[in-house]
Each structure stands twice: as structure tokens, then as C-alpha cells.
Subunit: 492 residues, 2 copies
Amino acid sequence: MAALDPDKTYKAAVIGAGSGGLTLAIGLAGFGHEVALIEGRDVGGDCTNVGCVPSKALLHAARSGRDDPFGWTQSRRNDLRDQETSEMAEHEQITLVHGWARLTGDRDPHVVAVDMPDGSVSSIRAEHVVICAGSSPVRFEIDGLPEERLLTNEELFELEAAPRSALFVGGGPISLEMATAFADLGSRTAIVELQDRILPSEDLAISETLTAALTARGIEVHTGTTVERFDVATDTAELSNGTQIGDVELVVLAVGRAPKLERLDLEAAGVEVAPQGIVADDWGRTNVDRIWAVGDVTGNTLTTHGANAIGRRTVQAIALPKLPRVGSPRAMPSAIYSRPEVASVGLSLADIERIPRASRRRYSVDLTDLDRGYTDELDHGIVVVDVERFTGAILRAAIVGPAATELIGIFTMAIDHGIGLRKMFGTIHPYPAYAQAVGKLADEFSRDTLPVLHREFVAMARGRIAVALAGVGVRARRPRTPTCPRLSRGSC
Amino acid sequence: MAALDPDKTYKAAVIGAGSGGLTLAIGLAGFGHEVALIEGRDVGGDCTNVGCVPSKALLHAARSGRDDPFGWTQSRRNDLRDQETSEMAEHEQITLVHGWARLTGDRDPHVVAVDMPDGSVSSIRAEHVVICAGSSPVRFEIDGLPEERLLTNEELFELEAAPRSALFVGGGPISLEMATAFADLGSRTAIVELQDRILPSEDLAISETLTAALTARGIEVHTGTTVERFDVATDTAELSNGTQIGDVELVVLAVGRAPKLERLDLEAAGVEVAPQGIVADDWGRTNVDRIWAVGDVTGNTLTTHGANAIGRRTVQAIALPKLPRVGSPRAMPSAIYSRPEVASVGLSLADIERIPRASRRRYSVDLTDLDRGYTDELDHGIVVVDVERFTGAILRAAIVGPAATELIGIFTMAIDHGIGLRKMFGTIHPYPAYAQAVGKLADEFSRDTLPVLHREFVAMARGRIAVALAGVGVRARRPRTPTCPRLSRGSC
């Protein structure tokens, strides 16, 4: 355990002890550096406290029929938080500071001011400042709905029991996962999404398959509308399209995330900010020398594995500054642990649209057509891929179905290593695993393209030239972090 | 629907309509060839009728608490069989012949005699004969046990209900899957394995983790022993180690497979046979020109996906004889759909032992240490890999845990495409998926090897030279079909 030393210049002051901040602190400490890790709330950040960990625990508790699912989820979450907290508090090279950090104008070394819980202000000097302040749920009021009946992920896991009924506003990961859990716990559940389909950043077939699966499980899905007002006398939510949803006990707001910037005093240090968050590159670099930003606070990724991946690069950039900083992060999958699960990886649909249509192909496999789907009575499941012609390079892959969040790894590997459907032809997957869908895609691609390889090659070459000339920055084999809309970019 | 034409010379006479035979018939018909498909029992072979399909259906029915799990499994199986039968019967280029085929001495074209159910003999002339006759369960009597209480996979699925208790002889895939299903259905279950652990062809850690998981679910596991006799008065099985297992209603024999050779009259055609089955190479070639053998009847693979993979190569060799026949089949995974699932891919442990110990490394990740294991209360799960030094090329990977049969696809891809742990470093898997184990393996490998790359390179080079000099035919990057003992090579 290291106490805060006002005279010391730390290698880094890391603001926020969530997924990004822990990656930075542990990573830099692993290189022998001393780190001040500043957290105003709980170690573990959203992931451990109000995100991935309690949501997956609640999903498990609900599915497995546990008694007291919320109590169990809370104790599971608290145990992990306590463990992470003591690991940080006891780490020899990490000084854990409980308080709210803000930047100052001092740059050499950087000075971070910390507003302590007792009202005092501490000062931390560090060569580098890494901002991993995270994000908050976007909040708004609903006319007529009492405040205590409007929850976000920050309040949801403090419930004592599942409500009689819950209405989820927003058709993204949090709603999909929590509607799954609540439905398993016996709540009547409905999802209301403003856009014309849930998961609008995914392929239409993905949204449709998921909607059908949720609907079959009794989860109502209302799209192209939003909650206009709430009548507390009848517990009725009125949607903008005129639909009335009665007997609503709780409303869960999950309509997006906003970066937590308000306490940071970014202006004092001159750090550039855009609407989605702090402007930072693939290595976490901001416009200010030796100030970095990682994770939700940048809006570049909104997932734990995303913050971890960029955070590892930032560790490398700080600890090994002479190594050349080349290359983008590898393909960044998204995952939603609803039932069925949803996962995707690769270019955003918008980026794919920028590639000439004539130089790409789209394939899909209905998982209910596989023998495993047959033996397991699967009602809904699909794999959709967009691929380059000739090579079959995976531009994007998306899956709705059992173990989607594990299966996506096959496509992530394929993108990272430039393995197109042509090269995947013949790869053997076990019978009757759902992974056989990958073999089917490769078979279909080969059947379509082998007889006309010459034409395929020309189409591919034309597409690459068009992309290069347009300078849209689309790379077929190793896509950038997808630029999906904020609402739907991976869970947690 | 094509009727048998005694004057026609078919492109191929395919003996057996299981996984291998259907692959051949459909594949060759797809090239426009006429095929006679001869089956003495049911279309679909073991897989559809007494193997993969009913076993996976029963596992699903048991897990999901279906009423009448056996009746449902039977009807599911029958529906698929009927569908496959009518597809074959109605196929324009396939003539489905119900009877038992045997070879004759006539070679140009080959003549196959078919013993028809009415006692007559038909004769089929074909350029090629492909033997896909499959395998049968090894049977023996147990002293004192009435015949009707000793089942194999051929009788098991005809039960009307799960027995009060069942004893499984043999610790391979069939026992593991069916013990899982029966335990879910409320049977008391025990497995008796002659060798010192279940799944003896897998890594010790795999056997141990699986044993612990099964035992925790109440499935008794007895190893290093076998059933000596049965006392029908007390329903007690006596094991050779003195253990007595009381109140046993049924005994299921699953101790291995024997190729179905007895009706084929291989001598008449001079086809070479070894103890494990017909001698055939990676393309299905036997010692006799234009006689081929695929699947269980060769003993080279004992899985549906194995027969399919080799069968596709045989189709290519017959339909496109001028294409060069180079290369082995791709990495052949094995999969067991027990709970937890088990899957592996790569070299056999015996082949790995032939690679100098100093040129390889072994890594493992305990899946219960992953955050997903934590949120899902996973008690038992592990990934074990053997890799080459320096490159981290996957020699073998094995998994016990949730979705193991899907996750193995990541390692299968890695082997097929020569992606070692060094190249996998940095690949991003979703949080908190079990696939994060792959990232942990790559991290650990990099941490161990990056500081000593020079030493790693020398160790790798020495290993490759030693393997080349010994001529053991072990290839680090694209292993041959594993040469595991017969009993444990993948399920179904």
C-alpha cells in the first residue's frame, strides 16, 4: 500500500478506476512505474458495479432460477468490487486515491487536483495523465412518471426483486439484456425504441431475427416510437404512436451514454472535446502532450474489452515510447448477452456502404436450418456476413443465436489475420455445432465464385481502387473500430 | 426418382447412406453424375438414427425438461430420417437401393452384388465403388446380466423412459453424453472406465476437470476397473476392483466401435483391411483402383464431420481426377456434447510426445478464473494448449466448459492457418465471454517469450530439425487427423 506523496512525480495519474483505468494502472505498474489511481466512486467502474458484472450475474441468476436473484447479484458484485479495491489499495506501485480529479494548467509535470471527500484538495504531480473517467447513462424525465420509478443501469441492480412489469426505453444492449433477465424472472416486459428497429446499427436481418425471438418469449417490442407521458393513476405509459402500455411498474431508461466530463476541467488543460467525448486516437493520445484518454470518456469504444484494448496500447505508448506506434487496434467485437445472444465484428454498416456494391457480397445462414438448430428446437438464429468478392475477406459478421458471443471469435480471428471465406473453405467444424454455419458460408461463397474467379477478381480490384480513390479509410481486412451510433455499440 | 438399371454403368456405387455415403452421393450428383446408393438399414446411418441426432435431441429434451423426452427424440429423429430418405429416393441422379451390398471380383467396371430384402440378388455396375459401411458398437456379455438389460447406442434411443439407474461401461463420448442426459432425467448414473481416467486420449487436466464436473453433478465415475459380473437378484454390478454398485436397472455398453465389414466380401475384390478397418488414405483411396472407403469403416475418423470432410475430398478425387491430390485434411476437431462440453483439435498426445519437450510449451487457463466463470458460477472448466516455442503454433488445444464445441473453432482456424499464440496476441474477444481465455493464453505466452526471443527461436529450430530427422511426420501447423485411440475420438 502506497500513500499519496505530494512531492513525488508519478509516472502517471490515472483518472478513474474502471476497465480503462485498471488496465492503465496495472499495466504501467507491471513496467515498474509508480501510478496514482484516482477514483471518486467505486473501484471497478461501471463494469464491475453497474454494468457487465451485475448484468451477467443477474442474467445467470434469472436463467438458473436462483432464490433472491437481486440479493445474490449484489453480493456477487460487492465481493468482486471489494477484491479489486483491496488489490489496488495493497499494490506496492499503485496509490489509490479516493476523490474527484480535475486537470490544471500545470503541464511539466502535469498537476492534477483532487477534491477529497473531506472537502480538502490534494495535488498530484505526474509525467502523464490518463483520463478514464467513463460515461453516464443519458437521462431525461418522462412526463407524469415519478422519479423513483424511472431507473437507469445505475439504479437497476439495487432493486430487491423483479418488478411486476417493466418498460425499457431504448433498444440497445442494456435493454436487451435486462429485458431478458426480467422476463426470466416473471416480469412483463416491453422495449420501446425510437428508431424503426432495435439494434439499428446491425444488419436488418439481425434486428428482425432478434425481434422475432424476443417477441416469441413474450417481450413486447415497440419501434419507431417513444414514451410520451405516463399516467400514474392507471400505471399506463402512452407512446407517441398512440399505443398505451398498461400496468407498468418501472421504466428503465437505456437510451445511450454520455462521457463524464463535468468534473474534469478539461479547459484548464486545453484538452479538445467533441460531442461524443474527449478527442483521442487509437493509442489514447489527446491533443495535449502526455495527456491521454481511454474508454467511454472518448466515445471511441463503449465496452470493457474496448477500453482494455485501447488501454493496453496506451500502456505501451507510455512505457515504451520509442517503439513505433503503428497499426490500428484489432477488430473490435460487440456482444450482447441477451437470449438469444447477439455479436458482431468488423466495419460498420455505414462504412460498408462506402465500398462499391459491385465489389462485395452478402451471405447468411439461418441457424435453425442447421442440424443443431433442429435437435435443439432453435426458433430464431442467423449469421450474416458481408465479404469482399474474390477473397471473401470478412468486412463484417453478425450473429444472433446460441453462443453468438463465443462464435464471433472465429470471425474476429478471420478479420485480424486476413482469412477470407475462400481460405476458410474446408475448415472442419464439429457436427452438430453451430460453428458449422461458418463452413456453410464458405461453401456457398466457393460455389458462387469458383466458376467465375476471373470476374470476381476484377470486381474485387475495382472495389479496392474505388475505395483507395475515395480515401474513405475503409480497410477490407483489418477494419478500424466500427463507427456505429453510440446507442448500440456493444454491451456494458 | 431413378429406378435401378442393371444395364447402366453408374459413376459410383456408394455402399451405405450414412454421413459419408450421403456426402458422396449428393456430392457426385452435384457434379452431374449418376450414383447408386445402397443401404441395408435406414438412410442417415448411425448419425441420424442412433447417434448424433437422437443423442443431441435427447440431451436437449432432458435439459429443457420436455415431457416424454424419449418419444419426442424418436419423433424428431424419425422426421429427419424420413426427410433424408425421401430426398434420396426422389433425387433425379441418385438411385436409392434398399439391400446389403457386397463386392465381387469384377473390376472394370466394378460390379457390386446387392442382397435384396426379398432374397433376390441385384447387380450394379459402376466405375467407382465407395464403401461407407460405417461401424457397430463393440459388444460383449456381462456375466449374470440379462441380454435385454444390456444396451448399446443402437437400442438406447428406443427406451420409453429414463431408467431408475444406469451404469455406463466405457468413459468415451457416448457414455459422457448419455450419462449427462440420463442424470438430467433423474436417473442415478455411473460410468465405469477400464483405463485410469475417462477420456484417456485427452490431456490429464481435461480428464480431471471433466471428472470433477460430472462427480459434482452426482454422476459416479469409476476408473481403472470394469464390470466383472451382475447379480440379478440384487441388481448389483460387481466391478473388478471389488466395488459393488447396487440398484442398477440398465447397463449401457459404449466401449468402442468396430468397422462393419462382415457383409462386404472385401476379399473378393482384394481390398486391404487392418484391425481398425479398411486401409484408406486421406482421400479415401484403398489399395484397389477405383474402390474407395470413407468414414467409420476405415477407422480413420469416427465422426460425422470427419466422414463428411474425407468424403468431400473423395468426391473431388472422383469428379475431378486431374486436379492434383495434395495436402492432408484440415485440422479435425472432436466434440462431446456432455455438460460441460469437451472439444479438442490438433495432434494426438502421442504425436506431441514425439516432439522434443524442450521445443514446446504447455499453457492452460482455468475458466472459473474468468469473469464470465465468476458471474455464471462455473465450477469446472479449463483450456489446455500445447504450442511450439517462439511461434506459439497450436499443436493441440482442448477445452472443457460451456460452449467448448463452438470455442474450439478458434483453435481449428488457428491450426489451419498457422496462427500461433504470438500472432494471436492482441486479438480482442468480448468481455465477459469465455473466448477471453484465448487472449489470456496469448498474453501469457508473450510475457514468457518476448524477453527471450532468441532462446525461443533456437529451441523452436532445434525441435523442427529433430522432428524432421526423426521423420515422425508431425507437422506443427497443420496436423494430420489425430491418431487417438479408437474409443475416444470425437462423439458420434
